[in-house]
């Protein structure tokens, strides 16, 4: 894995191993924020940014805990650093774009508990990526997340106009839709896996 080229890592993460649709990471914002297109895209961008920051921090931290033989502290240090990074993004956004800050609402602080972010940090550690590979991986994860979010938002906007039975409405319908989307993404399986 560690010798995969950057392009392969990026493609595989965006399409074949899409974080949301193939690896089930970050489902909560995926189901929660994907109602409207104009909140989906900024949410994706914010998450991508946090992913890059988290990836960078995680790389440094991993080096640090390994150097001192404190591997059992890895998880705790990752989550604390990610939580602080989210806080930082929140403050910056509040200052420079209050409208966006309000639109994202509760989901912004919840990026902390977005498993996609911690997932990036944990997977890059498990796969022993170097710094550049880790950053490309994080970017791919973010782009993949945004792509899934935007696609889903588009579908759901159309779905609002359709008449569906009462029983199916709500989360059940969103899940079915996500299943179909995931099925479509299965078509990318194997892409970017080349030796």
């Amino acid at each position: 894995m560690a010798d995969a080229s950057l392009g392969q890592i990026f493609l595989a993460t965006v399409l074949a191993n899409n974080f949301v649709l193939a690896m089930f990471l970050g489902l909560c914002p995926f189901l929660g924020v994907s109602g409207k297109l104009n909140t989906a895209a900024p949410m994706g961008a914010a998450t991508t940014f946090v992913m890059l920051v988290a990836s960078l921090c995680a790389y440094g931290l991993n080096w640090l805990v390994t150097a001192f033989g404190l591997e059992f502290l890895r998880l705790i240090s990752y989550i604390v650093v990610i939580a602080s990074a989210v806080q930082l993004v929140e403050m910056v956004l509040k200052k420079y774009s209050p409208a966006l800050f309000r639109a994202l609402g509760i989901y912004l602080p919840l990026i902390t508990t977005n498993c996609a972010i911690l997932g990036v940090a944990l997977f890059q550690t498990a796969r022993e990526y170097d710094l550049l590979q880790a950053l490309v991986f994080a970017l791919g994860a973010g782009v993949g997340f945004t792509l899934a979010l935007v696609l889903m938002a588009g579908l759901r906007e159309r779905l609002n106009l359709a008449s569906v039975p009462n029983v199916v409405q709500g989360t059940a319908l969103s899940l079915m839709l996500a299943g179909l989307l995931s099925l479509a993404f299965m078509g990318f399986a194997g892409l970017g896996m080349g030796e």
Binding site: A22, I79, I106, A172, L173
Partner: protein, 219 residues
């Protein structure tokens, strides 16, 4: 220890809340990521359920014990550190008990940290109630979570592999419905379960106590 009055009844209700009325998966739709990712087989699902329950109960107990010491401003950070500590313990425990299971669950054991059921319980319940109360509620939530995971895992394993707990259920002519153990299957099966619960709810108005599944998960 707990609130005086009809203690017996409320204690039971407090425990049952998570098992049925506020089931974290089927009613609140929380903690979706581990739910869908690890439920390819019944064994994985149960292991995940037990691991999560352990973290849930321990962290609820500790959060509840510390609820008067922790300053309000840093409470979330404190909770996360507490949760991460217990997850690290579970992570090492599972690796020690069964390496095969550890590899099957992969990063999702560590991702229990960001399971919002746990943080949600810590913030909404454990930080406001005495330890025994908080722990029993957390235990109920954990059991509800484990049962739901098992329901998903069992259906996916039966349909997708024709097995339950690795034992073949059908004859050799059974054609596995492979898509069920692939990622899309997770979405479909969970959607079906939610449909079933929605349908049950609309059929019996008495069960109106369960809130409609309009929510969304986070975490």
């Amino acid at each position: 220890m707990a609130i005086p009055g009809q203690k017996e009844l409320t204690a039971l209700e407090n425990f049952m809340e998570g098992v049925w009325k506020q089931n974290p998966i089927f009613v609140m739709v929380l903690g979706m990521c581990p739910t869908l990712a690890v439920t390819v087989s019944a064994v994985n699902a149960l292991a995940m359920g037990v691991a999560t329950t352990f973290v849930l109960v321990c962290s609820a107990l500790l959060v509840s014990l510390m609820r008067r010491i922790v300053p309000k401003e840093v409470r979330i950070a404190t909770y996360i550190v507490i949760i991460a500590t217990f997850v690290t313990i579970v992570d090492y425990l599972i690796a020690a008990i069964s390496l095969a299971l550890y590899e099957a669950l992969g990063a999702f054991i560590q991702l229990i940290v960001v399971n919002c059921i746990i943080l949600g319980r810590a913030e909404a319940h454990a930080s406001k109630h005495p330890p025994a109360w908080a722990a029993s509620n957390a235990l109920g939530m954990g059991i509800g979570f484990a049962v739901a995971l098992f329901a998903l895992g069992a259906v996916r394993e039966i349909l997708g592999a024709g097995k339950l707990f690795g034992i073949a259920l059908f004859g050799p002519d059974f054609q596995p419905w492979v898509v069920m153990v692939l990622p899309p299957g997770g979405f479909f099966v969970l959607g079906m379960w939610l449909l079933l619960f929605n349908w049950l709810r609309t059929r019996s108005p008495a069960a109106g106590a369960m809130k409609p599944v309009e929510g969304h998960g986070h975490g």
